[in-house]
């Protein structure tokens, strides 16, 4: 099974893990997470500024573009701690946009945007549409060339943090082919964004109407690298969400353990009952498997073939373990678990949302089966 990838860490990864563990815990206590649910923006701009100053948006950007010159492997511990502390910000989408630019952007596009992202500018991706298909090439939005400009039409859904992003990378069909385009936030007209009601209340997401949006022809990504860009986006998104879900699994298991260790019924601490104890152990085992896969995927990042197997294994296992652990957390909290006040629901909702973004565990497995058996 060696050919399916190994596990290892880098020094930078471990340093970042230590810093991120403290930062995310300190900056995202639960009362703040709760307060931000009712906030329009959905995150603390001061914290976002600090994330930029820490250089975290620049980690996987080459030094030539003012980046740190590391890889997605070093993004993993940060995303993990963010997921653990339900710290929602445009960190993930901005990192993804940079990866998309690196995979398929022209030299000019990279030179224009990557230094800005390195310096803390938020960005996002507009990929999903009404079909609900996780296949990124199954899209209906179009771009029609008109001299030096391109007229866009159609609607994009689940565009996270679109109101904060200065840059949106969208997929559209141009002459029947999938192409990626760079849309500056300023190109969108009044009313182009409609805030969506999404299952994860800690995140923000928008429907983006492209009708009437015109962009210059040089906003197109390199035509020859569309396939590569799709693959890079899928894998980077898979890795980031797997990391967040792993952190979330850890948090919801700890949250459940805390309750099992303190709540009394029938004069006994309920954690002594095997009906609660044993499934909690099983959920913990599944979480540790997910975390092992996560750091294997980080380690295998960039390896052709092997990297995709490792990322999809991590995403599949993280989604199933997060879903299960949060589901059981609701149940094990009894009546309190049914309330909005119980944090278990925050995690359960986020697991659903994360699965919706990248493809749930069953989808990841169907992709894996092709890689493993065909």
């Amino acid at each position: 099974m060696d050919n399916l990838g190994n596990i290892g860490t880098t020094e930078e990864q471990i340093e970042l893990m230590d810093v991120a563990t403290n930062f995310c815990r300190d900056k995202s206590p639960m009362d703040k997470v709760r307060a931000l649910i009712d906030d329009d923006l959905g995150y603390d701009p001061q914290v976002w500024k600090e994330i930029g100053e820490l250089g975290w948006l620049a980690i996987a950007i080459p030094e030539a573009h003012d980046g740190v010159g590391l890889s997605m492997a070093e993004v993993v511990p940060i995303a993990e701690q963010m997921g653990r502390n339900l710290m929602s910000t445009p960190f993930g989408t901005t990192t993804l946009a940079a990866q998309a630019l690196l995979a398929g952007g022209s030299e000019a596009q990279q030179a224009a945007w990557l230094p800005k992202i390195s310096a803390g500018c938020a960005a996002t991706l507009a990929l999903s549409e009404d079909s609900g298909d996780w296949d990124l090439s199954n899209i209906a939005c179009t771009g029609k060339q008109d001299g030096d400009s391109i007229n866009l039409s159609g609607k994009k859904q689940l565009v996270r943090w679109a109101d904060s992003a200065e840059l949106i990378i969208a997929s559209v069909k141009v002459d029947g082919n999938v192409r990626f385009v760079v849309i500056e936030r300023s190109a969108l007209g009044q009313g182009a964004l409609r805030r969506e009601s999404i299952i994860d209340e800690t995140a923000r997401s928008f429907e983006v109407t492209l009708d009437g949006v015109t962009i210059p022809a040089d906003a197109l990504f390199d035509a020859s690298r569309t396939r590569e860009t799709i693959e890079k986006i899928e894998l980077a998104a898979g890795l980031i969400q797997a990391a967040e879900m792993c952190g979330g699994s850890q948090a919801v298991i700890d949250y459940t353990l805390e309750y099992l260790k303190t709540r009394k019924q029938f004069d006994k601490i309920i954690g002594s009952f095997q009906a609660l104890k044993h499934p909690t152990v099983d959920n913990y085992v599944e979480y540790e498997k997910a975390r092992t896969h996560l750091y294997s995927a980080a380690y295998s990042w960039g390896e052709q073939g092997r990297g995709e197997v490792a990322v999809r294994m991590a995403a599949a296992q993280a989604h199933s373990s997060y879903s299960r652990a949060a589901d059981r957390s609701i149940q094990f909290h009894g009546g309190f678990g049914f309330t909005h006040d119980c944090d278990a629901q925050l995690h359960r909702r986020k697991a659903i949302f994360d699965g919706a973004l990248i493809g749930d565990a069953a989808y990841q497995r169907s992709k894996l089966a092709g890689l493993l058996f065909d």
Binding site: Q250, G271, K277, H278, V281, Y284, E288, A290, S366
Partner: protein
């Protein structure tokens, strides 16, 4: 301790071991070889494996790092590691004397007297003296600390009464590591226990074979009826039985006493199951075209890969900071349950042939998968059931309160 060998010295030793196992390994002696020391059923199997262990020992590839004065090779532990690797590479049969070499030996080397070391170590390495384990009792399986076999001191002897069960190789063993109750008034159940290096061939000790669910034999129930053994057989002092029994488990990790080498259980090669699936048909099409089988097999691949990688992750403190006991303690639970599920799953590949069993010429792989599935319970039940393992993980890794 011997000096750490140079790479060249190790390579030379490794090449010699490799050549020796290539030359001497018999994989098909004409009868089914046991996959674990718990499955030795026939005289043919026993004789073959006993002879095999002696041969490996005499070639210098077992006990290579145990002290020379007691029969070991007196070499650095790296040599033994290299030899074991060669053994694995050539898919050599298991080492038979598991309880002797894996449990009793390290305990005696660690805490035994000079005389005990002289008496016991060499015979367990040559497999001349087979050892068995007497911990479980018919009424006390999971609740080991509650063992009731009575050992009463009379003069310079102990008189034993009671029964032990699930004793692998019990009818063939010369010695048993025995957990017995010497004090029925002790302040708690653990403090009443003592540990003995018990001779099996004495009056009053008899064994009765137990037929396993596979249809094979392999372990026995042992009866003690006024059996008298020398008081010298007591090991570790009266009342210290529980801590001695727990110590035997620690040696598995090889930190205190260098591992004897070899293996007592053959790991199932899970990739064989993928091969079996790939070679199986369903409705005229390859089995793995069936979406349900495909999805399940993929999940198992995820599980297998995670457990394999966990072995590496366990040695990486930077990824073990939160709940450091979690991964080590969950390993037995996760691995044995996965193997049970996988072998059960493999039966479904076989269509009508899932109806055959060992001994029929129409059986797939001579019934290997059926036998493996039924035998997999020995690992989910033996050495602490999966349910007990969950308690252990819950209490020692997750900090949940004890179940009372």
């Amino acid at each position: 301790m011997a000096d750490k060998p140079s790479a060249a010295e190790l390579n030379e030793f490794g090449d010699a071991a490799d050549a020796w196992f290539k030359e001497n390994t018999v994989r098909d002696p004409g009868f089914m070889l046991p996959l674990t020391f718990m499955e030795v059923s026939t005289d043919q199997q026993f004789d073959f494996l006993r002879e095999w262990q002696r041969k490996v020992y005499e070639a210098g590839f077992l006990g290579a790092s145990w002290p020379k004065e007691y029969g070991g090779g007196g070499m650095h532990s790296e040599y033994q590691r290299v030899a074991t690797r060669a053994m694995k590479k050539h898919d050599a049969p298991i080492m038979l004397n598991a309880i002797g070499n894996g449990w009793a030996g390290p305990l005696i080397l660690d805490l035994g007297s000079e005389e005990q070391k002289q008496t016991y170590i060499k015979g367990m390495l040559t497999a001349e003296d087979i050892w068995c384990q007497g911990f479980s009792e018919p009424e006390h399986g999971s609740d080991l600390g509650n063992a009731q076999l009575k050992a009463v001191k009379e003069g310079d002897e102990y008189v034993l009464n009671g029964s032990k069960i699930w004793t692998s190789l019990g009818d063939r063993a010369k010695y048993m590591i025995l957990l017995a109750r010497t004090d029925f008034e002790a302040e708690n159940k653990y403090k009443g226990l003592s540990f003995f290096l018990n001779p099996m061939k004495v009056d009053g000790i008899s064994t009765s074979r137990i037929k396993k669910l596979t249809g094979e034999y392999g372990f026995v129930q042992t009866f003690f009826a006024d059996a008298r053994i020398s008081a010298d057989c007591l090991f570790g002092g009266e009342g210290n039985g529980w801590s001695m029994a727990m110590k035997t488990l620690e040696y598995e990790r090889g930190a205190k006493v260098k591992p004897v080498g070899g293996y007592f259980v053959k790991e199932l090669d899970v990739m064989q199951i993928v091969e079996l699936a790939k070679n199986s048909m369903r409705n005229g099409k390859p089995l793995l075209d069936d979406p349900v089988m495909r999805d399940k097999m993929t999940q198992y691949m995820i599980d297998i890969q995670a457990l394999n990688l966990n072995n590496t992750r366990r040695r990486m403190p930077q990824l073990m900071q939160d709940k450091p006991m979690g991964l080590p303690l969950m390993n037995k639970l996760a691995r044995t349950e996965l193997i049970r599920e996988l072998t059960e799953f493999s039966l479904g590949f076989q269509g009508t042939k899932a109806g055959y069993y060992v001994g029929d010429e129409n059986a797939v792989d001579d019934g290997y998968w059926h036998r493996s599935y039924l035998n997999s319970f020995s690992a989910t039940i033996g050495g602490g059931t999966s349910e007990i393992q969950r308690n252990i993980v819950a209490e020692h890794a997750l900090g949940l309160p004890k179940t009372r």
